[in-house]
Amino acid sequence: MAIKSGGLDRKSKAASEIPSSSLADIAFLLLIFFMVSTVFRTDRERPIEWAAAAATEKIDEKVKNILNIWVERDGTIWINDQSIAMEEVSDVVLPLYAASDRHLVISIRGDRETPYIFMDQLQKELVSAGVVRVVFATALERQMTGPRR
């Protein structure tokens, strides 16, 4: 084993620095931990055309407390990738609202051409489920880009 300097010298050389090879493992462990613990929104986007508004603001609520309700042009409602009849919306939202400790914010993602009657029915359903905070999802409209429709 000892080739030149003898055992004593070798031993002191091994202890002279912190082993840095495992640092990479720690870094990767962290990387993988963050990758796994990151939760992305689950529902898929519905093909809708956004309404635009200049007063668009970011929702001041945690992502997990936001429920998307999609309203398509023909009045079909989609919640969490499932098509739901208008009358059942309050039954679906109510347990989710209770589970979120009344922090749930509904993001109504209506197509810009949806007749307002569907939006009104949806609002009535949400009111009967007790939800008060609602956001009409819109795309940010930049002003000074010409006349608005």
Binding site: A27, A55, I66, S107
Partner: protein
């Protein structure tokens, strides 16, 4: 010289692994920083709670009736005169009205067949003007 030679060969012996951790952390921090979650955005409104209807003086209401073609009929309180305007013009109207009557409520009544975007246009104008008391209703045929 002989000692120096020996040292040199030991250095090139293996790939230095000490900087591996730095590279990994660099990647970790890079991805942490560049990951942006798409934040939801829109126009926030607070719906009334069920059964929570408040009687307000009808003089304190600005009626905004959104028609199917996007034109808005504006009616002040109890007066019967109707002013027609585009959603863009509501912002300045509201700013003027709120000066005279600080507790003014905007009642947005949308025609059942009017596209959602026209209601959004009106809501947008009201929020731009800083309106806080907005009521969203459906236009009942009378």
């Amino acid at each position: 010289m002989a000692i120096l030679n020996q040292k040199k060969s030991k250095v090139s012996d293996e790939i230095p692994t000490a900087s591996m951790a730095d590279i990994a952390f660099l990647l970790l921090i890079f991805f942490l920083v560049t990951t942006t979650f798409p934040k939801d955005k829109g126009l926030e409104v607070v719906l009334p709670e069920e059964g929570q209807e408040v009687a307000v003086s009808s003089n304190n209401i600005l009626h905004l009736i959104v028609r199917t073609d996007g034109i808005v009929d504006v009616r002040r309180g109890e007066s019967t005169s109707i002013q027609q305007m585009r959603p863009d013009d509501i912002e300045s109207v509201w700013r003027q009205e709120i000066l005279n009557r600080p507790g003014l409520i905007a009642a947005v009544k949308t025609h059942p067949d009017a596209p959602h975007k026209y209601m959004i246009d009106v809501l947008d104008a009201l929020q731009l003007a800083g309106a806080e008391r907005i009521s969203l209703q459906i236009l009942e045929e009378s």
